[in-house]
């Protein structure tokens, strides 16, 4: 029993890391209608930005801000320089997916000779160990959970109560109508890439901290987990992504405790498949949400 309680605590950490990544990914898709498969590579690139800052003697918490800034600027430029021209030419959805896959592969291969194939670690990122009722977490893990909660509340506040958030939702629902109503949709899209890029960068640094040791090859893994949580929750649904992250994070850790740990991701993705069979639109999205985003 003690192990299950501990696993539940670890699940909270995993859930927090996944949530930040998945919400950024799903917002990007929900508002810009772009399935950005380069998301994982932007995450790992941001993790390396923080690594080099950390290596230069800068605190990892400041490095995290550096990673988020990198993610924001890089994602913004990626859209402006690569994706937007293709979209203007009327490239199909599947075509854009292939373009983003190509970007992902190019990034991985460009990064490889720069950062090397070996794993690296941030310095002094563990923090003290705290135990409470069978749950064992480090102070840094608690900070990560807290950060995720603050970010989720911030995203909720942004979408619900701000002019920008309302413009984002309008653009997501019907970009043509939004434009005709006077909403500067291009600027909204730019803002979305900056915000989701920052979330992506932040998630990359946090995921790398969470792993203790990371390498360029981890980018693909980051993407798959974020993608799974986003799809589970309902593509394009920020709150759905949060719920998806909770399920995947907790189930992964509990299944590692209950069953063979090498299959923990199989269990999580098995649940994803089961949900997709029973509710193809995901947990929160309405039927046709994917199409409506266009």
């Amino acid at each position: 029993m003690e192990l299950y309680v501990a696993a539940l605590g670890f699940g909270l950490v995993s859930m927090s890391v996944i949530a930040i990544a998945a919400v950024g990914f799903t917002m990007q898709f929900g508002i810009t209608n772009m399935i950005n498969l380069a998301y994982g590579e932007v995450m790992i690139s941001s993790a390396y930005v923080a690594y080099y800052l950390n290596k230069a003697g800068i605190s990892i918490w400041i490095g995290m801000v550096g990673g988020a800034l990198f993610g924001a600027v890089f994602s913004f430029l990626l859209n402006r320089i690569v994706y937007a021209p293709f979209l203007r030419k009327g490239t199909s959805h599947i075509g854009m997916v292939i373009v983003s896959l190509a970007v992902s592969l190019m990034m991985a291969n460009v990064l490889l000779p720069i950062v090397g194939y070996y794993s690296v670690s941030y310095q002094d990122t563990t923090g003290g160990l705290l135990r409470a009722g069978g749950i064992v977490l480090t102070t840094n893990q608690i900070v990560i959970i807290g950060l995720a909660v603050v970010l989720m509340l911030g995203i909720h506040g942004l979408l619900r109560y701000t002019r920008l958030g309302k413009a984002m939702r309008a653009t997501a629902a019907n970009p043509t109508l939004a434009r005709n109503c006077g909403i500067p949709t291009q600027r909204v899209v730019d803002a979305v890439w900056l915000i989701t890029g920052a979330l992506c960068g932040l998630a990359g640094v946090i995921a790398a901290m969470n792993s203790d040791s990371f390498a360029i090859a981890n980018g693909a893994g980051f993407l798959i987990t974020a993608l799974a949580a986003a799809v589970l929750g309902g593509a394009g649904q920020s709150y759905g992504a949060m719920i998806g992250a909770v399920i995947i994070g907790i189930v992964t850790e509990l299944s590692a405790a209950a069953w063979a740990p090498e299959y923990k991701e199989v269990v999580a993705f098995g649940i994803l498949v089961a949900v997709m069979v029973l509710r193809p639109q995901g947990l929160l999205a309405k039927r046709g949400a994917l199409a409506a985003a266009g």
Binding site: Y117, S119, N210, A217, P261, K264
Partner: protein, 444 residues
């Protein structure tokens, strides 16, 4: 009924031109394909087929470094009958599904392959038969037991089977220096084919010699964290961890330290953990002090001295201009062995005066094992000189003597090792013949 008109005959003639052209090109291409006599002309290629990306991405560079060091040793001494050696990477990503097309592409696009090196346990079972069918000598870094009695004529293995690596780890746990015998072991091995090969022999040997397996924990390589796995492992209270989880060692061991209140548990690694990439990863994760204090490894008994090793080291350092990390592999066993394998292949070509792989392949083992009265040589230059003088040779290279059996497996003994603060291997102890015999008997 259709009649063949003049126009249709011209059309047939026109269509025949490209066909003839293709036949001509094929004929020209065939001139590069090794045939019976002579060493031929043009560059020769050594294919390095191994993981260069993915969880086991640390393996490929060690093998590539071997080729980069061997090439100048041959090229600066006249090449193979004037032919220069080149090295090329073929990435398997450590996955059989990616390895098969990589092997096929390597063979289809390079008629000048003189040898293939690499083929780790991740992909050897799938690529070795393909390479064998193409009649290309290969030197594989796999310890899988299915190759213990292989019928593949072009397969060569310069390292012992994994069972011996596993026995040596158990020997380190039970008879290693500076600690009382460990009696309660956690087996933490990656879920890949190569790592799992250690589990069964280690379990058998350890339990039959009085030890207990506290937990056998296959872990998913490349996972983002191992918190629950480590909690379960710590709950089983092991006094030692036997491990090979390449690519994930840093993440796992850091978690051990974190959850164990900042204190490590002794851990014993396979010979694959004697690797600069592994050293850096674990050092960065748990700190150099804990790595030096709690790590023990096993390795083949290299001396890292002598003429062959000196030349290897010089060439390896020079290879930094092509591959900056090359010098890091100065004590990596697989790098030493594959370097030797490439040089032995080149010497076999010179000895048979043939670039026909079916002709020089059998000569490789003869040069490695030597025959009665063979002159021992340590470098390619000396080997070529001895061959030209009409002598038979035995090549003893940077990795030491080779003794191939009838299944093309070369065996040698293990030593117990540790790291120094710079990542160099240091000998910590040796297993006595009696201890070795006990381990082998217990492990079956």
């Amino acid at each position: 009924m259709k009649f063949q008109t003049a126009a249709s005959r011209r059309w047939i003639a026109i269509r025949a031109i490209p066909v003839a052209g293709l036949l001509l090109l094929a004929a020209c291409g065939a001139s590069n394909t090794p045939t019976g006599g002579g060493l031929g002309s043009g560059d020769l290629l050594v294919g390095v087929i191994a993981p260069f990306t993915g969880a086991d991405a640390g393996l490929g560079p060690a093998y590539y470094a071997a080729c980069l060091a061997a090439a100048p040793s041959i090229n600066s001494n006249g090449g193979v009958g004037g032919r220069q050696i080149k090295c090329q990477q073929f990435d398997t990503r450590g996955e059989p599904a990616d390895a098969v097309p990589a092997a096929n592409q390597m063979i289809a696009s390079n008629s000048n392959l003189m040898a293939v090196v690499g083929c780790t346990s991740d992909e050897a079972a799938t690529v070795a038969p393909i390479i064998d069918r193409a009649h290309i000598p290969m030197f594989c870094m796999t310890g899988q037991s299915e190759f213990n009695k292989t019928n593949l004529k072009y397969f060569h293995r310069l390292v012992p089977a994994d069972v011996y690596d596993a026995f040596a780890m158990v020997g380190s746990a039970l008879y290693g220096p500076n600690h009382a015998p460990y009696k309660n072991a956690a087996l933490v091995f990656g879920d890949d084919i190569g790592s799992q090969a250690f589990v069964d022999p280690a379990t058998k040997a350890f339990t039959k010699l009085g030890g207990k397996i506290a937990i056998n924990q296959p872990i998913k390589l490349g996972a983002s964290s191992y918190r629950t796995e480590v909690a379960a492992m710590l709950k089983s209270n092991p006094d030692v961890i036997l491990t090979e989880a390449l690519g994930s060692a840093g993440t796992y061991l850091k978690e051990v330290k974190t959850q164990n209140g900042g204190k490590m548990i002794p851990f014993i690694g396979t010979s694959a953990t004697i690797d600069p990439t592994w050293f850096q990863q674990v050092r960065d994760a748990i700190g150099i002090d804990d790595l030096l204090k709690y790590y023990a490894g096993v390795d083949l008994g290299y001396t890292f001295t002598g003429t062959a090793y000196s030349e290897f080291l010089t060439n390896l350092n020079a290879a930094a201009s092509t591959f900056a990390d090359a010098p890091k592999y100065k004590q990596r066993g697989s790098t030493l062995h594959l370097y030797d394998g490439i040089i032995m292949t080149a010497l076999a070509m010179v000895a048979t005066n043939s670039s026909d792989r079916t002709v020089y392949n059998p000569k490789i083992i003869e040069i490695a094992n030597g025959t009665n009265g063979a002159t021992v040589v340590n470098t390619y230059k000396d080997g070529v000189a001895a061959l030209k003088a009409g002598k038979s040779i035995r090549f003893v290279g940077a990795g030491g003597e080779n003794n191939f059996d009838q299944y093309n497996n070369s065996q040698s003994g293990y030593i117990l090792v540790a790291y120094d603060k710079d990542g160099n291997e240091v000998t910590a102890g040796k297993l006595t013949p009696d201890q070795t015999a006990k381990l082998i008997a217990a492990g079956g």
